[in-house]
Amino acid sequence: MQSQTMAAEKLSPAAPPTDAAIAIDDVTLRFVTPDGHMMTAIRDFTMTVARGEFACVVGPTGCGKSTTLNLVTGLLRPTTGNVRVMGNPVTDISRDIGFVFQADALFPWRSVIDNVAAGPLFRGTPKAQAYDKARDWIGRVGLSRFEKHYPHQLSGGMRKRVALAQTFINQPKILLMDEPFSALDMQTRTAMQDELLGLWSGLKSSVVFVTHDLEEAVALADKVYVLTAGPGTVKSVYRIDLPRPRVMADIRYDPKFIEIAKVIWNDLREEVQLGQSRGLQTGH
């Protein structure tokens, strides 16, 4: 077992310090399914994201990756354990949070600029100011020519850019991303990863990025959480010491990157196999 290398340092999931941006402390989440069975989504789950840190969560399908994000938003409440965001227990959806969804969550009846201005408008920013801000963010994602277009007139990659602008305009201190680029083709995904790192470096939010793509996780993250097959818990945590700024198109050929990816993949592989064999048994 080579769990310790220069670039991928394996960490012990210690109890979270109190000043962390996100602190999930020993959380178990159970819920009753509509047909009356008790399901455990995640158990004994501990995770800490420091301010300005980029954390990725990888794991086999159905291991509760997205559940961790919903614990942070407050849409789900832990059965035991507690969740703190910026030092405070989670009670309601915090104004500090931004969320990029896997599915297309843009409002199809709103033009690009109306979509991007939605956040500030919901939060009570005066109209003129909200639209100025929206124009600025649309420019930053390179879509100034498409302000008046409707989502259905844009390509998948462009829609994701709008979604990023829509989220970043609120300048979230906490950024949650649920497999945001999984539906995009390879080239577009690489471009969007660069775009994301660019926007993030300007804002320095704390990020939790959920993905099933290990290479994406290693390329983006400061820290990678590997989850076990469901009910999910943290199997191991790796610190990724690749220098920033990173360029997505090049980093995947970096020998250090390949080495890290290999180490983590060895760890993840058995969980994936376990998850798949279970899936075959239960028919999911």
Partner: protein, 291 residues
């Protein structure tokens, strides 16, 4: 032997593309003309056969009327007025009842659909009563309304409202229920209050459902108004039909029917215009070319 320069080739290609495009356009125009021509031909053949059959007594014009008889009837209504007053007044009365019933029923249906769609408890409690109310043949309520509200406008409007309400309600409710979860969560996290979610996510996403129901339900409103007049009235197209029926005037029944159909078509056209205006964000369907 001559060498062909690339620019010559490009020019030749450009002209051939222009020619191909012109050809394709001409084909489309031709097809469009063919469709219109066939439509007209079918109308002419249908009316012609009807007229001929009536003339040669293959069908009895006393019962089944004839195109010329219907036209004469409409013309005499337009020029001389009907037995119950000028024709435009009958049309006006029926349209007024229809629109009032349509507006009240649609607004009520939309509001009720959104409230019940947003509130699970209310939906569970009321769903059974709505099912019961919906299973009553609504036309029968016409008699109740005539007894309760009299022969005036109110009873027809009430019947039209009942006809419209359930259709619009069912669609609005379904539309609210089908609103995309991710979209609602997105609005919530972007900072929308429950009220803002209703106005800026739920209502726009239910809009296509609601508009679809408005097409159908305008027809129902017209049925409600006409049947109401049938059952007892002092004015209106329904009364015109029922009078003609009483006098065994088949021409009159058919003439009134055609006038009602024209009214419905005109309003349908206006609703479509309104729909296209409201949901201009939607991608154009593929079959919208060259109708």
């Amino acid at each position: 032997m001559t060498a062909i320069s690339p620019t010559d080739q490009a020019a030749a290609r450009a002209t051939s593309i222009v020619a191909a495009e012109a050809q394709a356009k001409a084909r489309l125009r031709k097809r469009h003309a063919l469709v219109i021509g066939l439509r007209l031909a079918i109308l002419v053949v249908f009316l012609g056969l009807w007229e001929l059959c009536a003339d040669y007594n293959i069908i009895d014009p006393f019962f089944f009327s004839s195109p010329s008889g219907i036209w004469e009837q409409i013309w005499s209504w337009v020029t001389e007025g009907t037995s119950q007053g000028p024709l435009w007044l009958q049309i006006y009365v029926t349209l007024e009842e229809t629109f009032l019933g349509f507006a009240i029923g649609a607004v009520g249906g939309i509001v009720a659909g959104i409230i019940l769609g947003r509130n699970k408890l209310l939906a569970d409690v009321f769903s059974i009563y709505i099912k019961i109310a919906n299973s009553v043949p609504r036309v029968v309520l016409g008699s109740v309304f005539i007894i309760a509200l009299g022969l005036g406008m109110a009873s027809k409007v009430a019947l039209a409202v009942v006809m419209v309400f359930f259709v619009v309600f069912a669609n609005a409710f379904q539309g609210v229920r089908e609103a995309d979860r991710a979209m609602i969560a997105n609005a919530q996290i972007l900072g929308a209050s429950p009220m803002q979610i209703t106005t800026s996510v739920i209502i726009p996403s239910a809009m296509s459902w609601i508009l679809a129901s408005l097409h159908v339900s305008f027809g129902f409103a017209l049925v409600g108004a006409v049947v109401g007049e049938f059952l007892g009235a002092k004015q209106g197209m329904g009364l015109l039909i029922s009078t003609a029926q009483g006098a065994f005037n088949a021409n009159g029944v058919f003439a009134a029917m055609i006038i009602l159909a024209v009214m419905a078509l005109v309003v349908e056209f206006l609703i479509t215009r309104f729909e296209n205006y409201v949901v201009k964000w939607r991608p154009a369907p593929f079959n919208e070319q060259g109708t």
